[in-house]
């Protein structure tokens, strides 16, 4: 192989978001023709680092060198000119446009008259898709593609710009095994052309398949970099997870009581297949899975946000039919959504946000007692230590952790007996995390049953009494708190 030189060097990159130290003096290097795998749990800082490199986020301090030359004030356009191509985790395609239009978005081929040369665009698009080994009609609208096809289109778009550095952020999360193989073949081809690739993933099994070097990040820091030969699974898991398992999660076990909920044979076409489970008073049931395993679909189905194709459900041994969140709330279910912005009305202050699930159960003409609402909200602000304790300021000005507490207060106030926590600690700082877990303990002591959906292994291992592992819309394993290990979870989930 040709002589190697670093085409990218990032030195002491630092970035703070309100309440989170997203990148803590991170060093990173990439060589020509190398696939450098960037590994870490959710919120470790991988995506933030890549966004700094692609110019969509400005770092607070640090230096970036490309081909040994220092780069200042990186913007997305500048990054593109420098040959940096990024495939985002969240798809960034325009759904209403065709595949070809998306591939050449912003840089369409023009004929001599200055009009768009459609024939050439379609031909080129077809060619770049064929390079990927996929048969997607370039004239098809993107919204008609399935997720895997969209992801491949996104990759094709980035590659048509002939980048020197390619950033792939969890590119295989929506791909089938065959499609993944084709992507790996393409990556090998790009390496031969001397392209450097940063490959972000949290699938350990992929590391030896594509990478030459692995860097593990945790809590915004680089934990270590090592060649792939030395990176066996236990080493990597250890680096990813650290020894945080016990310190941060003050789990207090409660003897589970009687069965409160039973879900049988839930199926949703294309995402859930015959899912069944039981839930008991005072229990924390963990549901673990990688991205795309079907956890959000299960949540939405239980809470009445999506229709199920088949399946039944019982609460307190009586069959219930939940067609909307209104029904779910009436039966004592509460949902802490994955994205808090999905739960809160940003321009309203804390009190109406807290009472919303109760108010929605009342008839429209009923009065609202503002004074008792304010008093009640003040109580929750005090007991949950919501900061800053302002009663008339819109909740959009609160930090992530405090917003999460407002949502939690809503379900405490609604007296929900079954609470679904969907990624409860996503994007909140360490201090708030511990407080959220302490609240979970308090809830289970009061006989509340909790379904905790999480893709963060340490927290689910520490907090759950029982863990169900999901993969491909099915439960693949049930593990008791004692027998679950990170290795088992990852093996069952992939």
């Amino acid at each position: 192989m040709a002589e190697r030189q670093p085409i990218l060097r990032m030195v002491k990159i630092d970035k703070k978001f309100p309440g989170v130290h997203a990148l803590d003096h991170v060093d990173f290097e990439l060589e020509e023709g190398e696939v450098h795998v960037l590994l870490g749990e959710n919120g470790a800082g991988k995506s933030t680092l890549m966004k700094v490199l692609s110019g969509s986020i400005q770092s607070d301090s640090g230096q970036i060198f490309i081909h040994g030359k220092e780069i200042h004030n990186l913007s997305p356009e500048h990054a593109r000119e420098l040959g940096i191509g990024m495939v985002y985790q969240e798809l960034s395609l325009v759904p209403a446009l065709s595949v070809a239009e998306n591939i050449f978005l912003g840089k369409p081929h023009r004929s001599r008259l200055g009009t768009i040369d459609w024939r050439k665009i379609y031909k080129e698009a077809e060619k770049s898709l064929a390079d990927l080994g996929v048969a997607i009609d370039p004239k098809k609208e993107v919204r008609r593609l399935d997720v895997a096809e969209q992801q491949l289109t996104e990759i094709a778009r980035v590659l048509t710009a002939r980048p020197k550095i390619v950033l792939l952020d969890e590119p295989t999360s929506a791909l089938s095994d065959a499609e993944r193989e084709r992507l790996f073949a393409l990556i090998r081809l790009l390496r031969q052309r001397g392209v450097g690739i940063v490959y972000i993933s949290h699938r350990l099994v992929e590391v030896p398949l594509v990478g030459q070097r692995v860097t593990v990040m945790r809590d915004g820091k680089v934990i270590g970099s090592l060649p792939v030969e030395q990176a066996d699974e236990p080493t990597l898991v250890n680096m990813m997870v650290g020894r945080r398992l016990t310190d941060q999660y003050p789990k207090e076990r409660v003897q589970p009581g009687k069965r409160v909920m039973q879900v049988a044979n839930f199926s949703v076409k294309g995402s859930l297949h015959d899912v069944s489970f039981e839930l008991h008073e005072g229990e924390v049931l963990g549901i673990f899975g990688l991205m795309g395993a079907g956890q959000p679909e299960l949540t939405r189905a239980i809470f009445g946000l999506n229709r199920i194709n088949s399946g039944r459900m019982w609460i307190d041994e009586r069959e219930v039919h939940i067609h909307s969140p209104t029904d779910a709330i009436r039966h004592g279910i509460g949902l802490l959504t994955r994205d808090r912005r999905q739960s809160l009305v940003p321009v309203l202050p804390i009190p109406p946000n807290v009472t919303l699930a109760n108010v929605s159960q009342l008839a429209m003409h009923r009065p609202i007692k503002l004074r008792s609402e304010t008093r009640m909200a003040a109580d929750y602000i005090r007991s949950l230590r919501i900061q800053p304790p302002r009663l008339n300021r819109p909740v959009m000005f609160l930090s992530g952790g405090n917003q999460q507490k407002v949502v939690l207060a809503r379900w405490l106030f609604s007296k929900a007996r079954i609470l679904i926590f969907d990624e409860p600690t996503r994007g909140i700082d360490v201090g708030s995390k511990a407080e959220v877990f302490a609240l979970m303990n308090q809830l289970t002591k009061n006989k509340v049953a909790i379904v905790m959906i999480s893709s963060e292994m340490p927290e689910i291992l520490a907090m759950a009494d029982r863990i169900l592992v999901m993969h491909g819309g099915r439960f693949t394993a049930e593990l008791a708190a004692g027998e679950a290990t990170p290795e088992k979870l990852l093996r069952c989930a992939s």
Partner: protein, 360 residues
């Protein structure tokens, strides 16, 4: 009694403890600027006009402004509630016209309906019929939007012309009462209807009082009822409203029903003022009511605002039209000035919002 007093003291104490002293005084100033923006515009314009024209501050003229602004103000209350849910009701003027015209026909003519000969009916029955038609028209708007799953803008744009068409059929395209129908029967609209549009109580126009009552009712609904809270939640974040168990479709239908009901009342006041009703009479009001809401500071994307701002917005428009008349500006130029004022006021409002209310 004593318990009540105690709770209010408690909550005041709680509030005092919670609102940290820092920035509280500034918070009040900011709040005032944020709330009173439209009031400044109203007062500034009034100050200018009272200097520019000796007639502006005369009682007769102020009564006239009130009477003209009242119709827009009434319609704007329903419009505000709709816009707060991030909807829009382009059909309010048409609903006003169809309900007032249908009632006017019933109250002045003998009508054959399903084989029965009806009318002329009393004022009370006519008024109820108008309200029923308004509520029905609003419900139809709401159902088309929620069941048909089409944007509010399109649905009400469609029903706007449909309602106008039906109103033209009902009236035969003639004013009610007209020279043709007047000879046959009563010939005049009931005096109560004319009182609503043109009467006075102690020198204050009845139309203005009706507008005030509707604004107060609207304020009460928005601030103190479950429906009001639901409206802000749906407009502020539709997804969050749904996750919190709010029935969005029901809310939508309810707000359009209210808007239709209020429009019917406005139609009655308008026909009373003009001493005549016709199928196309409130055509300009469809957009005027929206302009009043926006000038009043309600966010066109929903979730923020209220009816008091819209009342002021309606008066700014009325004041402006009146002032331009007093200053002998031609009717052609008036339109241009009115359009410019709408744009400038909203631009100022946007700037004020960025500058004051989102500062941390």
């Amino acid at each position: 009694m004593s318990r009540k007093a105690k709770t209010s003291v408690e909550s005041a104490a709680a509030k005092g403890a919670l609102e940290s002293g820092e920035g509280r005084a500034f918070g009040v100033v900011r709040e005032l600027i944020a709330r009173l923006g439209p009031v400044f515009a109203l007062v500034l314009l009034g100050a200018y006009l009272s200097v520019a024209s000796p007639h502006f501050l005369k009682t007769d003229n102020l009564v006239n402004i009130t009477r003209q602004s009242a119709i827009t103000a009434i319609l704007a209350v329903g419009q505000t509630i709709v816009i707060l849910t991030s909807g829009i009701d382009l059909s309010v003027g048409a609903v006003a016209a169809i309900s007032a015209s249908a009632a006017a026909v019933l109250m002045t003519q003998r009508v054959v309906f399903l084989g029965m000969v009806i009318g002329p009916v009393s004022f009370g029955l006519g008024f109820l019929v108008a309200l029923a038609i308004g509520a029905l028209a609003g419900t139809i708007n709401g159902l088309i939007i929620t069941r048909g799953r089409i944007p509010d803008f399109i649905a009400t744009l469609g029903t706007l012309t449909i309602f106008q068409g039906i109103a033209l059929i009902i009236t035969g395209g003639l004013p009610v009462p007209s020279h043709i129908t007047a000879t046959e029967l009563k010939g005049y609209l009931p005096k109560q209807m004319i009182w609503m549009g043109a009467g006075e109580i102690g020198g204050i126009p009845v139309a203005g009082l009706i507008a005030l009552v509707i604004v107060i009712l609207g304020w009460l609904v928005l601030r103190h009822t479950v429906l009001g809270r639901t409206v802000f939640a749906v407009g502020g974040n539709r997804e969050a409203a749904r996750v919190s168990g709010i029935n969005i479709e029901k809310t939508k239908v309810a707000v359009y029903l209210l808007s239709g009901l209020i429009a019917a009342l406005a139609g009655f006041v308008l026909a009373g003022r003009m001493n005549s009703s016709n199928a196309l009479m409130a055509g300009e009001e469809n957009l005027r009511s929206i302009a009043a809401v926006v000038i009043g500071g309600t966010n066109l994307f929903g979730g923020e605002g209220g009816v008091i701002g819209s009342l002021i917005g309606a008066f700014i428009m009325g004041e402006l039209a009146n002032g331009l008349n007093l200053l002998n500006v031609s009717a052609f130029w008036q339109r241009i000035v009115q359009g410019l004022v709408i744009i400038l006021v909203v631009m100022f409002d946007q700037w004020r919002r960025r500058r004051f209310s989102t500062a941390r």
